[in-house]
């Protein structure tokens, strides 16, 4: 039996609207799904609604209308205990990093693994691997506030990937990186994706997805302009997305 056919998509949006008080429209009638093991790029200009969409997936924000499902669970009906468990399975690299400035690189990356009571040996090995992959090995004992913005960004990405999450969300993960480190980050994402992690990457850096075969959602003022493989994206939009 093919189990993947009966498994629910890891993320599904059904007619989702998000309005911030008093009347700031962030998302309008967004519907899409992300299958397990897929990588999706969220694109659009600043203020297009990319971050709002990611916040809905990890339940930092709640939709004004519509349904957001993660791993088959309607987030509006999930208990707080189950939400905690769900969050343990989602790695998030925030646009503002959300690192603890006085904690070391090691301590920051270890946090999601400590929350799930992972053994010290596994934590050490995993952090060592991630720092190698992101060219940060020399900074392991540095305090986060002593790092450059680009280094902080990579620490945030390492923390998001630390716990082998089935779903990883990254908000502008290459915003502060030079091309060399951008490539390292994309390589890590590809590696995670090949290992089964589903990813949603919000970016306005076209260079990181233009040559890929992954799907793209293009947002404009909260409206979905396109959803599909990048090579099918039209130059200009007229009406429905595929």
């Amino acid at each position: 039996m093919n189990t993947s056919s009966i498994e629910p998509p890891i993320v599904e949006f059904i007619k989702v609207n998000k309005v911030y008080p008093p009347d700031i429209i962030a998302l309008v009638d967004i519907s899409f799904l992300l299958k397990r093991g897929e990588m999706l790029f969220l694109t659009g200009m600043s203020g297009a609604g990319k971050t709002s969409l990611l916040k809905l997936i990890c339940s930092i924000e709640h939709p004004t209308r519509g349904v957001v499902e993660v791993n088959g669970y309607d987030l509006s009906k999930v208990s707080s205990a189950n939400l905690q468990k769900l969050r343990q399975r989602i790695g998030i690299a925030y646009q503002d990093f959300k690192l603890l400035p006085k904690h070391t690189v090691f301590q920051n990356i270890a946090m999601p693994m400590e929350v799930t009571y992972t053994s010290k040996k596994i934590i050490k090995d995993r952090i060592s691997f991630l720092l190698d992959a992101l060219n940060l090995s020399q900074k392991i004992d540095f305090r986060a506030d002593k790092l450059s913005r680009g280094e902080q960004q990579r620490v945030a990405i390492a923390r998001a990937a630390a716990n082998y999450p089935p779903l990883l969300l990254a908000d502008e993960p290459t915003g502060n990186l030079d091309p060399k480190h951008t490539e390292l980050v994309i390589n890590l994402f590809e590696q995670l994706n090949q290992a089964g992690t589903s990813l949603i990457i919000a970016t306005h850096d076209e260079s990181i997805y233009k040559d890929s075969s992954h799907k793209v959602i293009d947002l404009d003022h909260g409206k979905m302009q396109f959803w599909g493989p990048i090579d099918q994206k039209p130059e200009t939009y007229e009406g429905e997305y595929p």
Partner: protein, 295 residues
């Protein structure tokens, strides 16, 4: 649940707010020291009162011998006042015999020319050996003087009464210092944990986003309160023991303290103080978590 992870988190909390932690620890220690010191004094005074009370008796003198038929009625009347250990009726002859015996073979010849009924008959009343009874000894004496035929009531060691009053005062101080302990342990620990929560607000927020369970976030803060209780109280009690040993060494010999056996608190009382203090500190911690932690 991972115990070592909880201890690690607690260690980080303590490290981040060590100044406040130290102040709280010392305040809890001082409160425990004050409370347990007065409690120790109270226990020893109570014991001293009982020791002194072992020889206490009230003697009611009468003009004439009391007929044996009246004994039960009088005894019933005496016992109606309060706890009495025994009542002894002494006739004129009993009193004379007692005096003869007290003077001994060498001196009792002074009584040879005396009538055997020159001493007054009496009733000796031995009150129960507890401080409550002893503190009411004056009232008891007044009551006994109203017995039919009673001429005079005497009781030795009137200062027992004063000792009882002093013990009463110490008892009030014990209650007050107990209140102080409750306030300091609860409020100081509560405010320290609050400081921890505020200091770690950003971290707690991130932990929440990473899916940390309530127990993962709350238990280190509860443990912080428990440790304050354990170490604060432990230190306070150790200080009290050192102070007690010093007093005992300093005032040993034929001085005041050698009259009584000055003892330290029994183990179960020490354990009770420790347990109570830990509970109060934990309570302070929980109050702060409930009030300030938003998870």
């Amino acid at each position: 649940m991972n115990i070592s992870a909880i201890f690690t988190q607690t260690g980080r909390n303590v490290k981040q707010t060590w100044g406040a932690q130290l102040m709280t620890l010392l305040t809890v220690s001082l409160s425990v020291l004050i409370f347990s010191f007065f409690f120790l004094v109270f226990l020893n005074l109570q014991k001293a009162g009982v020791q002194l009370g072992e020889h206490i008796r009230l003697i009611i003198y009468f003009e004439n011998d009391i007929p044996p038929v009246m004994h039960p009625q009088l005894e019933k009347q005496i016992r109606s006042f309060g706890a009495v250990e025994k009542v002894v009726f002494v006739t004129k002859k009993d009193a004379f015999d007692h005096l003869t015996k007290q003077l001994g073979a060498e001196n009792n010849n002074v009584l040879l020319d005396m009538n055997q009924d020159f001493l007054p008959p009496s009733i000796e009343v031995y009150p129960a050996k507890n401080l409550e009874t002893l503190s009411r000894i004056k009232l008891f004496s007044d009551f006994l003087s109203t017995l039919p035929g009673a001429q005079k009531v005497k009781y030795g060691h009137e200062w027992i009464e004063r000792l009882a009053q002093f013990t009463q005062l110490i008892r009030i101080i014990v209650f007050l210092s107990g209140g102080l302990l409750v306030l300091t342990a609860t409020f100081m620990v509560s405010s320290t944990v609050r400081l921890t929560v505020i200091t770690r607000q950003a971290e707690l927020e991130i932990l929440r986003l990473l899916g940390a369970s309530k127990s993962y976030i709350q238990l280190p803060l509860v443990l912080e309160g428990i440790l304050q209780g354990v170490f604060g109280t432990g230190f306070g009690l150790v200080c009290l023991y050192v102070f007690y040993t010093w007093i005992k060494t300093k005032f040993s010999g034929p001085a005041f303290l050698s009259i009584f056996s000055f003892t330290f608190m029994p183990h179960f009382i020490l354990a009770s103080i420790l347990l109570l203090s830990i509970m109060l500190c934990t309570l302070g911690s929980i109050v702060s978590i409930r009030k300030f932690l938003r998870i």
